[in-house]
């Protein structure tokens, strides 16, 4: 009999979050971010959290909501270029920031979930990122040692999910969500569509339910588009 991860809603899903915790949040830009949980974090008013997220949202949306309430003590990200308030807090020293290469961020989260405490990567060798890190040559090429990342809570957003915690993501909304699901001590999944057990094809599941501790049907996803780029139907080029 499968193990149920179903909780009633975002309140239950986010219970136990405390000030000072380390949180992972899936998404790339505003694509595939856990909107419901972010709103709940604002509502709960948790403070001094460390957020591990590829980006920091935009002013007033995504993690930007937590930033404007000064709820974040430290950000671990790879790219934060879309957020003026972020840049202001960082340059003024209000916000501690650890910028790391995107591939290393993804791999470090996966490593955290996979019981790999550390690995070598060429990314960042010879840069600020390598400062204080072990350097070792493999086949004549220098690599740096990167360590695993884990989190007290990981928040991911999926397209479909079931009570067993199995998740399917849609298109490029997958991004960091699967690795962060692996790396959370408590992983919370909000889904656009909660389907009956057995409806997901076991061959098509991206994140096995074993990595998810709590799942709920999300509400009112805004799914804001950051850069709406289109071809006009007239020219069709």
């Amino acid at each position: 009999m499968s193990i149920s991860k179903l909780v009633s809603g975002v309140e239950d899903a986010c219970s136990g979050i405390q000030d000072g915790m380390t949180l992972m949040l899936g998404g790339f830009g505003l694509c595939g971010i856990p909107e419901n949980c972010i709103d709940q974090l604002v509502k709960l008013g948790v403070k001094d959290v460390t957020c591990i997220s590829n980006n920091a949202g935009v002013d007033g949306f995504g993690l930007g909501k937590l930033l404007s309430g000064h709820q974040i003590r430290k950000m671990i990200s790879s790219y934060v270029g879309e957020n003026d308030e972020f840049e202001r807090q960082m340059l003024s020293g209000e916000l501690e920031v650890d910028l790391i290469p995107q591939g290393s961020l993804a791999e470090r989260c996966r490593a955290g979930g996979a019981g790999i405490p550390a690995f070598y990567t060429p990314a960042g060798y010879g840069t600020e990122v390598a400062e204080g890190k072990e350097v070792r040559d493999f086949e004549g090429k220098p690599h740096i040692l990167e360590t695993a990342l884990t989190a007290d809570f990981a928040f991911v957003k999926a397209w479909k999910g079931d009570a067993a915690g199995n998740l399917i993501f849609k298109a490029t909304a997958r991004n960091f969500n699967p690795m962060m699901a692996m790396a959370g001590k408590i992983t919370v999944a909000e889904v656009e569509e909660l389907v009956p057990l057995g409806e997901l094809n076991p061959n098509e599941i991206h994140t096995p339910g074993i990595f998810v501790q709590r799942i709920f049907q999300g509400k009112s996803f805004e799914k804001r588009i950051e850069q709406r780029t289109v071809r006009t139907r007239k020219t069709n080029s």
């Binding site: 595939g32 340059l91 591939g103 791999e107 990314a123 010879g126 298109a171 997958r174 006009t232």
Partner: protein
């Protein structure tokens, strides 16, 4: 002198049949528009798609389908979506044959800086550090000089580095410049640009052969 689309057009000539290509934000993105018709090339976007297509028709954009520049896109037949760890497995594992990205500075030994101006601008490196540390072919697309008119091709970079000794070729509004043995090597002039103009705009050591052909566009 080339405009941004001109730089992209020239870089498109670097692309070979059967290559997977990662294009950075800005000028590099434009390269996709100038690939020779019928060439088998697939564009990888590090946020999780291979086989990226053109922008969607108005009204059919999907918030869940974007490129690394956060722009709404489409998928070509044969496209595939994947997670960020798999995406950088492709990049770090050298499965992507060409990376085109912008830069704030490039040095004569192939160093590149494009992610940070201390105390002023900190956008982050995104995937650039993984890309430049891994790719065999790294082509930089940028203007030859900055807004203040200062050369971006320097003896050594003054800004925090993105990668060391990795850039093989730079295509600017003025020239195609290769990097080897610690020096810039002038390969081609942009249409209507003199060798002297390029020499004047290049701060790092520039090796100039007796004959410098003009780009064929």
């Amino acid at each position: 002198m080339l405009d941004k689309n001109g730089i992209a057009t020239r870089i498109a000539q670097e692309v070979r049949d059967g290559w997977y290509v990662n294009l950075g934000i800005g000028i590099p993105t434009l390269v996709a528009n100038h690939i020779t018709e019928g060439m088998e090339v697939e564009f990888q976007s590090e946020n999780g798609i291979l086989g990226m297509g053109p922008f969607p028709l108005e009204g059919s954009e999907d918030a869940d389908l974007i490129n690394a520049g956060k722009q709404t896109i489409t998928a070509m037949p044969g496209a595939v979506y994947f997670d960020s760890a798999t995406s950088f497995a492709m990049i770090r594992g050298r499965h992507v044959q060409l990376t085109v990205l912008g830069a704030m500075e490039v040095s004569a030994n192939g160093d590149i800086a494009n992610w940070k101006i201390p105390g002023k601008m900190v956008k982050g490196m995104g995937g650039a550090m993984d890309l430049v540390a891994s790719a065999d072919n790294i082509v930089v697309a940028m203007m030859h000089t900055n807004r203040a008119g200062e050369s971006k091709l320097l003896p050594t970079c003054s800004l925090p580095l993105t990668g060391v000794g990795c850039v093989k070729r730079v295509v600017t509004n003025l020239a195609v410049v290769d990097i080897k043995d610690g020096a810039f090597h002038l390969i081609e002039r942009a249409p209507g640009v003199s060798v002297q103009e390029i020499i004047d705009a290049t701060a790092g050591t520039l090796i100039v052969p007796s004959d410098v052909p003009e780009m064929t566009m």
